[in-house]
């Protein structure tokens, strides 16, 4: 039996239920696994890893407590470190691999377990597991209180950080009365600033930050960010001159293509930084972000090559994960790039949207739904065939399109 676990209010009950079921069905072993979203290439702090290990230790102790007499073997593992997990399918795939490796067919899921942090993935992950042929059941637990998804347990660090930022912003807008030296002004600004920042931090510190901020790490990232900004500015100016030439050229020599890149950065804010940087650098525009796939519109071939060479991606990895992570292969070498001609994922769905005007909205939705249900393998399979098809009339990615 396989039980994916993570921090949740009903973890204790789930462990109890799983042990009970295992004893009833004479299962030989219970595997408690933690699928982790961090990638081993990023500099995972020892503290983060320790937290996961403590969680597994705790689960093991609980399982022993609940077991009576004929104890099924309890095994724990951290999985998915070598993969970039984003979609429910990714999680299901990692769990399935583990299950196959250990001959497990039954999977018990904690209904309050949330693999993607604050992103609701659990139901979709269960569906995907059932489709792969596993028996999936949710542990019948009693949830003490239904927490709304927007808020998370807050803490002094979140409050303090948000308070500091709001207070500083208030003083910035107030024009730093401290500088002018007027005692009344200073007093006034400090008091109103404290009140305003207090209200903001008090009401929002549970909402703004998705996880406990690690101050030291945040500081290092800010330093690296200050190295990144001049580099970005240089890139912006450099390619702006190129785009100026193209726009003012009488023949307007553009060759726009929609491309899709699977980027190797993990998590919300690195992805946002990368997507925004791509948009800021002339010639490339992030049209859509779907998990780790960025749909980028490139105006001319050299912009496309720059994107596939992944210089910005590497820089963003440097900002968030440090120098070690900058060494990951470029998107082109990883084979994570492709050219898309039209916005529609599915060529057939796109065709039917064109033909049937009346039912176009419906067809497209259907196309998208089936897209979501498809597994990772099928998707890459399709990508490969599409690439083959496109070879004759289009320059394949990375094959000297800059002529």
């Amino acid at each position: 039996m396989l039980v994916p676990v993570g921090e949740s209010v009903t973890l204790r009950q789930t462990v109890g239920y799983a042990v009970g079921v295992a004893e009833e069905t004479d299962a030989s072993a219970i595997h408690f696994v933690v699928p982790v979203a961090w990638h081993s290439a990023g500099d995972v702090e020892p503290a983060v890893r320790r937290e996961v290990e403590t969680l597994l230790d705790r689960v093991q102790v609980w399982a022993r407590e609940d077991a009576s007499g004929t104890t099924p073997a309890v095994e724990t593992a951290i999985i998915g470190e070598e993969q970039y997990m984003f979609s429910p399918d990714d999680y299901a795939g990692v769990l399935a691999d583990y299950a196959d490796a250990h001959g497990v067919e039954r999977i018990v899921v904690d209904p309050e377990y949330s693999p993607g942090g604050n992103v609701p993935l659990l139901r979709a992950m269960e569906v995907s597991l059932v489709e792969r042929g596993y028996t999936v059941e949710e542990a019948p637990v009693e949830t003490p209180v239904r927490r709304s998804r927007l808020t998370r347990p807050g803490g002094a660090v979140q409050f303090g950080l948000l308070f500091a930022v709001s207070f500083l912003f208030y003083q910035l807008l107030g024009g730093f009365a401290i500088v002018t030296g007027d005692t009344f002004d200073l007093f006034y600004e400090l008091v109103t600033g404290t009140i305003a920042a207090g209200i903001v931090a008090g009401s929002l510190h549970r909402v703004t930050m998705s996880e406990r901020p690690r101050l030291r790490r945040l500081g290092v990232q800010l330093v690296r960010l200050s190295l990144y900004v001049p580099y970005l500015l240089y890139e912006i100016v450099k390619s702006n001159i190129l785009i100026t030439f193209i726009i003012l050229h009488p023949r307007l020599p553009i060759e726009p293509r929609l491309t899709r890149v699977r980027v190797a950065v993990w998590g919300g804010s690195p992805l946002t930084t990368l997507a925004n940087s791509i948009t800021l650098t002339p010639g490339t525009l992030t049209v859509r972000a779907d998990g780790q796939y960025l749909y980028v519109h490139a105006l001319f071939p050299s912009a496309r090559e720059g994107l596939f060479a992944g210089t910005l991606e590497r820089a963003v990895r440097f900002v968030y994960y440090g120098r070690a992570a900058a060494a990951v292969a470029t998107p082109e070498e990883r084979g994570d790039t492709e050219l898309l001609q039209r916005p529609e994922e599915d060529a057939d769905a796109g065709a039917s949207v064109r033909s049937g005007e009346g039912s176009s909205e419906e067809t497209r939705r259907e196309g998208e739904r089936s897209e979501e249900a498809r597994t990772e393998d099928e998707r890459s399979e399709e990508a490969r065939t599409r690439d083959d098809r496109s070879d004759d009339d289009r320059t394949p990615p990375g094959d000297g399109g800059g002529a």
Binding site: L172, L173, G175, F176, V179, T180, I236, V237, N240, I243, T244, I247, L248, L252, I254, E255, P256, R257, L258, A275, N276, T279, L280, T281, P282, G283, L285, T286, V287, R288, Y295, H297, L299, Q341, R342, P343, E344, V353, S360, R364
Partner: protein, 109 residues
Amino acid sequence: MSELELGLRTGAILVLLAGGVFFTFVSAVGVIRLPDVYARAHTASQTDTLGAGLVVGAVVLTYGFETEVIKAVLLLVFIFITNPTAAHAAARAAYVEGIEPWTEGEERR
């Protein structure tokens, strides 16, 4: 401030203003001339941002060390963050509506 310093600063401000007007001009040409939404979003987000950035940079330089400079810098940072985001939102809306990107050989839209 010495004569030379003042002259240098005035020169820098004039250069920044000229550059800003030039890039804003390019972005206006791009928005009018480019063939489809996605291509227009390019200039709206990038060339325009640089143009606005240069002009606001001139404003920052003019203020020098007065407290108003903070607001000008804030404005600069704000433009640099929001402009690409807004262009991205528009482009994404176009994508979700199913507007296909223009390719060479088609008629301009």
